[in-house]
Amino acid sequence: MSNPVEADLLGSNGLDQSSCHKAIDQIMSHDVDFADLYFQSSQHESWVLEDGIIKEGSFNLEKGVGVRAISGEKTGFAYSDDITLEALLRASQAARNIAPSNGSQNCSTFHSNAITHRYGTQNPLSSLKDEEKISLLRATDKYIREQEPSATQVAVSLSGVYEHVLVAASDGTFATDIRPLVRLNCSVLLEQDGRRERGSAGAGGRHGFDFFLLEEDGLLRYQQLAEDALHMARVNMQAIDSPAGTMPVVLGSGWPGVLLHEAVGHGLEGDFNRKGSSTFSGRIGERVAAKGVTVVDDGTMDNRRGSLNVDDEGTPTAYNVLIEDGILKGYMQDKHNAHLMGVQPTGNGRRESYAHLPMPRMTNTYMLGGEYSPEEIIATVEKGIYAPNFAGGQVDITSGKFVFSSAEAYLIENGNVTTPVKGATLIGNGPDVMQQISMIGNDMKLDRGVGVCGKDGQSVPVGVGQPTLKIDALTVGGTA
């Protein structure tokens, strides 16, 4: 076998493509419409520096196979962390019981399509020597302490994942992928006159660890992150109570795109729309956002955290337009929901691991840029909030209510950004807020590669992005 993933996940376990055929045929002896096998192995490594020393390191190993059988709207699922023919057939027997034993179909002949590679195949865990990983953590710590000798706490963590996945399905899909993913985070705690504030920053993507040693805006990337963490802590040290109430809000570019992820992203996932449980259900072709607003989900961006060559069902990822000039164009789909809704899968079928069922999920979700400079946008606000950095968010896709919490924010007074204010939760209704977008910046950018999206208890890495945006009215949950 020349395919290294096939060799790792099948060959080294005494399996081959015919074993996959055999398992799927066994499932198809029941009356199922579709079946797939998802083999996965992953290695995860992490290192933590705290109090100036390398405090912890860990290595995690996972492998297994998940077996799914679909009959109409019903799904049977079983998995095993033991990849053997016996375990595979046992899981297949459990999963097929979702349907009665009068199946008449067979597994189609496997075919592999050439895939476009969006990221390298090198194992990031060996992209730097262990000594060099340690040096990177130490250099980040040293940089922060040099910039701010009085820092109370500095913590730096580095993690990398190397994953092999292989999908074999009854529709003939046979796909493999090699997925590297790295991340560097740093946080700093400052103390001043009895007040303590923390700042943090992180970055990553589908790279080797050397990504953090490259130059970004005149500094090495890890230095840039250190600067950002320090900046956030210093700003928050000066922050006054945030105002409370409904007011204009200007969101910065990049990571504030978590707005889109919560306000529209989840609501446009195919499963919710098939079930009619989303506030966006049945609204394709309708205006769901202000004119000028175009939102896409794009799994094809090079080296991005949310990118995939193929999704977890073997479908190539794509550039999917969700909202175009304010009009709802389409949903994100996996195979199951696409089939039931009579549309094509969009490359959004994702799962946390072999031990979880795939669902429609986002990849990199962002809004295209507009015509205004950030300064022009801020200048139009008499009294409001400028929020360039956020923590997480959450949405109720049925009512459309969503929240996201600012991590760095300022008052806007008479068109100028003035005093920093404390972090506050912003709350709105997805469709309403999207209609309230009145100005779109020309500075579209993606986040630095730290997003984790949770749905039904499953976490997957994602990207978000947007240009600077003005929302005419949004509720800000401050105390002042």
Partner: protein
């Protein structure tokens, strides 16, 4: 899973792994092995939707070579993978720095008695039975009110588990456990308004789950009550946290008084030991060995024996929550909180749920919180909320799309009543909580 066979097998694996670690040069080592097997059966719109068979194994090992630590874990329990995990952990310990505070918990604190906490109540996991329960639950919800127009379904989960912890002080102890849950989420609509809500029951004994009828009807009642929700004006007013969400306030306390946050100086409750934090009548008792309770355990994640503790007495904070590492960093002894808390019992002020509404008088009754807007370093609190507007103790209309904000330290001091009807489905057992005032942001 035959737990009586799996437990000794797991203990043997843990013993082997510890032995291997010692052979490879570890001066101390600890390992845990957890095996969980279960089923999850869900229905939607009165049809079976998913049937999942779950089976999860995780072995975690930490080694100490002198005062250098390394860790590894594996879901693959083959001899080869176990050896690799040990080797990786030893390898990592070559690169971590010497840390005076690292190492196993002190031997004298390790649990030596293992009374039966009655955490294991196995039943034969039967998917047909699970389907029947889920169908009955969802049906009860869908039939309860004509405004319930759609469903996110009902789910039955049954899990049995066997977990073992061992370290080179000699402890190698197993614990079998079971956990069953039945839940339901339905959608109600009226005009353009669409709302969802859920209800659930969770218990270590299958027979003690709430009935499908009760769970379905509770979900139905909750979701219908949300229809017609509106925003309210930005204001300062009293806020009542329903008992279902009130435990989150004590969850923030847990984060703020944990040893890790203390030695990092990243908590607003630094230097608060033996100081008043709550009203005088409030106590928090930790009772780790309540039979059948969800957060019961004879020992923590480091093998340290758990003990009864009064975390808050007469409103005064009496204990921080330490692990062996954070305790050494702070020059004290661990009190068994590696891995979290064990059954917190919060005292109450004698009020029924109805009395609590009367005590609220005119203000916001919060039944749902959204988002993560809590800063443990400063205590600043700002979260999305939904619930009901109450006037003179009577619910007026549902409220949504508002935030509530304050500072946790002030919020703890502002507790004026806690209901006597308690939420029992988590590690914190508390009634509803009334705060004298919070900042509500809306229109």
């Amino acid at each position: 899973m035959q737990v009586d066979k799996v437990l000794p097998q797991s203990q043997q694996i843990v013993a082997d792994v510890l032995h291997l670690a010692t052979q490879k040069g570890a001066t101390q080592a600890e390992a845990s092995l957890t095996k969980v097997q279960g089923i999850a059966v869900s229905t939607r719109l009165r049809e079976v939707e998913n049937v999942e068979f779950t089976q999860d194994n995780t072995l975690g090992i930490s080694v100490y070579v002198g005062k250098h630590k390394g860790s590894a874990s594996t879901a693959d329990l083959s001899q080869e993978a176990l050896s690799l995990a040990v080797e990786k952990a030893i390898h990592i310990a070559k690169y971590t720095n010497e840390d005076e505070c690292s190492g196993l918990a002190d031997e004298a604190l390790i649990a030596t008695e293992f009374p039966d906490l009655e955490l294991y109540h196995p039943i034969a996991l039967d998917t047909q039975q699970g389907m029947d329960l889920a169908l009955e639950t969802e049906n009860a919800a869908l039939s309860a009110d004509s405004r319930i127009t759609n469903s996110d379904g009902a789910t039955f989960n049954g899990n049995i588990g066997a977990s073992v912890y061992g370290n080179t002080h000699g402890i190698n102890a197993g614990q079998a456990s079971s956990r069953y849950s039945l839940s339901c989420m339905v959608i109600a609509s009226e005009g353009k308004d669409m709302q969802r809500d859920y209800a659930y029951s969770v218990n270590r004994c299958f027979n003690d789950l709430n009935s499908p009828k009760n769970i379905g009807e509770e979900a139905a009642e909750s979701v219908v009550s949300r229809l017609g929700a509106r925003k309210i004006g930005t204001q300062e007013c009293p806020v009542l946290f329903s008992k279902e969400i009130a435990s989150s306030l004590f969850g923030h306390l847990v984060s703020a008084i944990s040893g890790g946050a203390l030695y990092r100086r990243s908590t607003f409750l630094l230097d608060h030991l033996n100081k008043p934090l709550f009203p005088e009548w409030l106590t928090i008792q930790e009772r780790p060995r309540i039979k059948r309770a969800l957060a019961s355990s004879n020992f923590d994640h480091e093998g340290v024996a758990t003990q009864d503790m009064d975390i808050v007495q007469d409103g005064i904070l009496k204990h921080y929550l330490y692990t062996s590492y954070s305790a050494r960093k702070l020059g004290v002894q661990t009190n068994g909180h590696a891995g979290g808390i064990h059954n917190w019992l919060i005292s109450h002020s004698g009020h029924s749920d109805k009395d609590m509404l009367a005590e609220l008088g005119t203000g916001l009754f919060v039944t749902e919180l959204m988002g993560q807007g809590v800063n443990t370093v400063t205590g600043d609190y700002s979260r999305g909320a939904a619930g009901f507007w109450v006037e003179n103790g009577v619910i007026q209309y549902p409220v949504h799309e508002v935030t509530i904000a304050g500072n946790l330290k002030q919020m703890f001091a502002n507790i004026i009543a806690i209901g006597k009807e308690k939420e029992l489905r988590g590690a914190v057992q508390t009634g509803s909580i009334l705060l004298s005032s919070m900042r509500v942001a809306g229109d």
